[in-house]
């Protein structure tokens, strides 16, 4: 190996190092920014109670018995009180397909975590609202 080829190697390495310094990293600064999710992302569900007729097709089709509709709930007597158990859900999308009244949708929120198991059972109030807007929340860039 000659002197010039070694020098050339050193310069090639230096060029690579400088390029890496000024490049954006491949990884995301996760809790504050996230990658873009496709349209069809099967994340947590949202329930539109105005459209729901409590026909229970989603309950019937769910392979892991994650959905429960409480017909005896007096507060939501006329509408459906839907309980969604995210400790059981496998995000297969069958419930969204089964819904003929456009009352159940997937959202792009895929990172669900809670301190207790009970918090992962989303009640009628939680399943109808998004606790955070996925896109606005993710818009902040740190680097």
């Amino acid at each position: 190996m000659g002197f010039f080829s070694t020098l050339g190697d050193i310069f090639r390495i230096l060029r690579h190092v400088f390029r890496q310094i000024f490049k954006r990293p491949f990884t995301y600064f996760y809790p504050f920014e996230d990658r873009e999710y496709p349209e069809r992302t099967r994340g947590r569900h949202i329930h539109v109670r105005e459209n729901c007729t409590a026909c229970k097709q989603c309950v019937r089709v769910c392979p892991v018995v994650a959905i429960r509709i409480d017909v005896m709930d007096q507060k939501y007597n006329k509408d459906a009180a839907l309980y969604f158990d995210y400790t059981r859900c496998i995000f297969c999308g069958l419930c969204v397909q089964a819904c003929r009244f456009n009352a159940l949708y997937h959202t792009k929120v895929v990172d669900i975590s809670a301190e207790n198991r009970e918090d992962l059972i989303y009640g009628p109030d939680e399943i109808t609202t998004l606790d955070r807007e996925p896109l606005e929340w993710r818009g902040r860039r740190f680097r």
């Binding site: 496709p38 069809r40 992302t41 392979p63 297969c92 999308g93 069958l94 997937h106």
Partner: protein, 377 residues
């Protein structure tokens, strides 16, 4: 004369070993050499067949794809095919060709995963990450199509659930282009590597007759030069492999024709990837317009007539099939029996391993492309 077995030690490889996630083998060692290998199944058992008996015909495919997440598009097909045969559902042409394309893409993804994993088992950890980077692009394409990276839930009795979009097609094209650019480079790097040759050549060798007797199928038997492939031998009427012009990939090593060792199986799997890319490239322009789901199927799968059917597909690891039996007006199967491809290759370790060194055990195991989900149903 002293019996060598008096000094033998028994050790368990797995189930806590890093490389043995969900399986264990009892090895009898004399010095560094293995004299007996006793593979044990059952550590990964999830009673999938019983689960299928409690799920209706729409939900069953979800159980099947969870047996092997790496080839999810392929794994759920035998169940779907069997249900379609019993219910007498005609699948639209567009859905047939879409299924075939996605199954081949799934095969490439699974082989890339195995290739990186096998290199890592030999200690070449750089080769673990390079194919896995390319694999990410396939996962991105799957996510664009179905909304999920691994548990795709794509095939359903009567067609497929999600239609191709322009964005998905561009992502798939990008993934294949990247694979075609980078795979030859990595392949030459790996197959010419002296470390790789020393570790794999002549290790775990069996001939075609032995392989067929043990029931090994797929790339493992094709590496012996046997052109056995369900895609060609008995083409499924709901898949469109006949629309592409391709040959069954077989590899014959000139040093020992009719036999395969770990090195030959590696070369064979690169040929498999090339064939799959070839099939996808030919099928993509031929996708016709039309429906992706037969609407009559929605009513038919609620209750099936009495009957039995056998759905099968050439999976990444070999013949994957399922026997389904239903009673009259049944909402759930009476019996479902899964035949996974890896059970036979896993138990062939009993014959392949003795006589080799302990360090070669994981090479032989890895070269058969095993997946515990397929032998512990």
């Amino acid at each position: 004369m002293k019996d060598v077995l008096e000094e033998a030690t028994e050790i368990w490889f797995g189930p806590q070993h890093v490389s043995a996630h969900g399986w264990a083998a009892k090895l009898t060692l004399v010095g560094d050499y293995i004299v007996e290998c006793d593979p044990n199944a059952g550590y990964f058992h999830r009673s999938a067949e019983k689960c299928l008996e409690f799920r209706d015909f729409r939900q069953g495919a979800l159980i099947m794809e969870r047996l092997c997440m790496l080839e999810a598009f392929l794994a759920e097909y035998p169940y779907v095919s069997a249900v379609e045969k019993i219910a007498g559902i005609d699948v639209p042409d567009r859905a047939k060709i879409m299924r075939t394309i996605m199954m081949e893409a799934s095969r490439i993804h699974s082989l890339q995963f195995w290739w990186g994993q096998f290199a890592a088992e030999l200690g070449l950890f750089t080769m673990l990450l390079w194919p896995w980077v390319d694999r990410e692009f396939f996962l991105d394409a799957f996510e664009e199509l179905t909304g999920s990276r691994h548990a795709v839930s794509y095939n359903t009795p009567g067609g497929v659930k999600y239609d191709f979009t322009d964005k998905f097609l561009s992502k798939l094209d990008r993934a294949i282009q990247r694979l075609e650019e980078r795979m030859p480079k990595f392949r030459d790097m790996l197959l010419r590597s002296p470390t790789f040759k020393v570790r794999t050549k002549g290790i775990g060798r069996f001939d075609a007759n032995q392989g067929l007797r043990w029931g090994i199928s797929g790339p493992n038997i094709r590496a012996c030069g046997v052109p056995m492939d369900l895609r060609k031998d008995s083409p499924d009427e709901n898949l469109t492999y006949d629309m592409a012009d391709w040959e069954v990939p077989t590899y014959t090593n000139e040093d020992h024709p009719g036999e395969s060792d770990a090195y030959d199986r590696m070369v064979q799997r690169f040929l498999e990837i090339e064939t799959s890319v070839d099939i996808i490239r030919q099928l993509l322009p031929q996708v016709p317009e039309g429906e992706i789901y037969e609407r009559k199927a929605r009513g038919k799968v609620n209750r099936l007539p009495e009957g039995e059917a056998y759905g099968r597909v050439e999976g990444t690891r070999g013949v994957t099939s399922l026997y389904l039996r239903t009673m009259d007006k049944a909402q759930t199967p009476y019996r479902a029996k899964i035949r996974g491809p890896c059970f036979n290759s896993y138990y062939s370790l009993k014959h392949l391993v003795p006589g080799n060194k302990f360090a070669d055990f994981i090479v032989i195991f890895g070269s058969l492309d095993p997946y515990p989900g397929w032998w512990d149903r």
